[in-house]
């Protein structure tokens, strides 16, 4: 009996070892196969930041020399269109870094695979990853979360003796004061529906700042609330004060900020890092402050996802596992400035010292909100088009904010999102 039991135990153990050995051999041979992973990201085209981010992810090739990473660099204005079209056609990259709106669209369309294996055993994933779980499946991991703040050119503001604003009236007054004293542009802001995605995401800071939710407690879309009217009225007041370069697209406005020709702006941490990188405005001359509104503002979130059309899904998941691990996060931290990452990796002391503005962003990230409308993540762009067209009517045609938003509410009710 004992002998038989021992024999069967030994047989079982031998079988287990043999299976494990075979699996290890298979994994080893799998790991040795040359694999090319195409990674799509709009940030690859960013001056300096794109290069730094690419250098960070390429460190993966040290631990996986058989993997070749290839960029698919698409400018942000075309990124969503191109990725959606590619994925719908059964093509596209293996891995995509997607703004949250695009991420939810891709998840809803079934373009993304379950990547829960990539975060197995990762204990320190932070809250930025929470929305990467869709219908119980982990389809996304946080790449970066970029919170918004009020940024300003400190030497210009000091020269004009202007106050760092805490409300919209002060923002207008300070912007005008700097313009009069130095000739610089007072404030930069997206203001055209032709740049819909950027405009609505930036405008959410004004909306949230005035307490807008866009949905009520029952999940019904509420567009013409008193808070929304107040937000649009405040935005119109800023627009009419002629403190922004009307007609300029936002990349141009950012370039003007980089060239030290702008006093104030509302931008996210990624954009601010771009402004602070390698131009006339030294990072130390850039400062950040809380948004000039009563309530917290917004953040933009970028998720990593693996395409269902990828022929190397396992290799892509292995790459993501490395990226959320200590090595990957440390590499990404260096290149990401103050953006929140998938795990809580503090910015380096050297970065903090060189970029004093970064601390404000970290503080504001604690209570910032997604630019997407809760419960309507996939439809947010369509809903916000109606809202932003109402805002444009107020700005350009002097429409009454209340009347414009009431019409927008009717239109949205009729569309039955």
């Amino acid at each position: 009996m004992f002998t038989r039991a021992r024999r069967s135990f030994l047989t079982g153990a031998a079988a287990l070892i043999a299976t494990a050995a075979t699996a290890m051999t298979l994994n080893a041979s799998h790991a040795q196969e040359p694999v090319t992973l195409v990674i799509a990201n709009s940030q690859w085209v960013d001056a300096l930041r794109g290069k730094n981010l690419w250098n960070a992810v390429q460190q993966y090739q040290k631990v996986a020399p058989n993997v070749t990473l290839v960029q698919e660099a698409i400018p942000s204005a075309e990124f969503a269109d191109k990725i959606t079209t590619e994925m719908a056609a059964g093509q596209g990259p293996d891995i995509a870094m997607m703004q949250d709106g695009l991420f939810y669209t891709a998840a809803d369309a079934g373009f993304l695979v379950d990547i829960s294996k990539a975060v197995e055993g990762v204990e320190n994933l932070n809250a930025t990853n929470d929305h990467g779980v869709v219908n119980g499946k982990r389809l996304g991991i946080a790449w970066q979360r970029a919170v918004y703040a009020l940024i300003y050119n400190k030497p210009l503001v000091d020269k004009a003796g202007a106050k760092v604003p805490t409300n919209v009236d002060e923002l207008i007054a300070s912007s005008q004061a700097v313009h009069q004293a130095t000739g610089a542009i007072g404030f930069i802001s997206r203001h055209q529906v032709s740049d819909l995605t950027g405009f609505f995401m930036d405008f959410q800071n004004w909306a949230y700042g005035y307490g807008v939710n866009w949905v009520d407690s029952d999940g019904k879309l509420t567009i013409d609330t008193p808070e929304a009217v107040a937000a649009v009225t405040a935005f119109k007041k800023m627009y009419d004060a002629r403190i922004i370069p009307v007609g300029d697209d936002f990349p141009t406005q950012r370039t003007r900020f980089k060239e030290a020709q702008v006093s104030f702006g509302i931008d996210n941490s990624g954009g601010t890092l771009n402004i602070a990188s390698g131009a006339a405005l030294a990072p130390g001359d850039l400062a950040a402050a809380p948004l000039p509104f009563q309530h917290p503002g917004a953040h933009q979130q970028i998720f990593l996802g693996v395409s269902t059309h990828s022929k190397h899904q396992e290799a892509a998941i292995d790459f993501l596992a490395w990226l959320v691990g200590p090595e990957g996060q440390a590499a990404l931290r260096e290149a990401s400035g103050p953006d929140a990452l998938a795990t809580d990796v503090p910015v380096t002391e050297a970065f903090q010292a060189a970029n004093p503005w970064a601390e404000t962003f970290a503080e504001l990230a604690k209570d910032s909100r997604s630019t997407l409308i809760p419960g309507y993540e996939v439809q947010t762009t369509q809903i916000m088009r109606v809202v932003m067209e109402a805002v444009e009517r107020v700005l350009v045609a002097d429409d009454d904010p209340q009347a414009a938003l009431t019409r927008a509410q009717r239109k949205i009710d009729a569309k039955r999102f």
Binding site: A109, I185, S194, D195, G247, D248, V396
Partner: protein, 302 residues
Amino acid sequence: MTPGSSKWLSGKGKAIAPYVFILPPLAYLAVFMFWPLARQMWLSLTDTRLTNPNGGSFVGLENYQWLFDDPEFYTTLNVTVLYAAVTVVLGVALGTISALAINRPFPGRPLARAIMLFGWAVPNVAASLIWLWMYNERSGVFNDMLASLGLDRVSWLTSTHMAFSSIVAVTVWQVAPFVMLVVLAALQSVPDEVREAARVDGADALSVFRAVTLPHILPSLQLVSLLVAVWSIRRFDIIYLLTGGGPIGSTSTLVVKIRQTAFESHELGVASAYGAIGLILALLVAFVHFVTDRRRQKWMAQ
């Protein structure tokens, strides 16, 4: 070559030769034009979404019904028709005047012709970006000129009453040189002796133009008007880069709306319905051209 094969070539071979020659272009058109067109027409009858281009269901004329119930559709249609009409009138008029101006030899004519062709030679995207800067409210050259004259700055692309005129100006700048080239070629074919005879008979310059020159260049003018009209109906780059269809839809043509519907709302079915309307509009223009051409030929024959 045997006598038999030579006989075959002059018999059956000759009969099928035209079909052999026409087959490659026909195959090309079938693959790259007729099939996509048929597919688009089919898509316009389905609820296909961009995220699942092969998964739409047949919905009949629902997309068209939706369009006809939407007030924005009529705004878009009005803008498209107006844009095409104004572009044709101004582009063809300016191109014709330019052609008449440089038809006769004068010192520096080749240089003048090269400069006048510049708008047509520059790629649309590059030209649009240059115009975007010239129209810039804060630092554009137009507003700098106005400011130097003590006038107020103009919101060329961001106000509803100026944006349409601004994109028409760019389009005319781009289209007129092409018209000029076509009309110039037609003017070269006007016999000098007929013009001379009219002058000898006492006709003034305007009468010579109306009685001699115009009938000669009319077929070219008709053709070029048709081309400019169809190009205007389907033009995307200039409008999208300058205004994106705004402000408040004041420059939103059918093509701009197609992009918005397909890529923002992901509604390929509705976008295809917009495309079908654009196609009908272009066919309507071609039909008008056909009818007026027939009338002109009858008039010429009398």
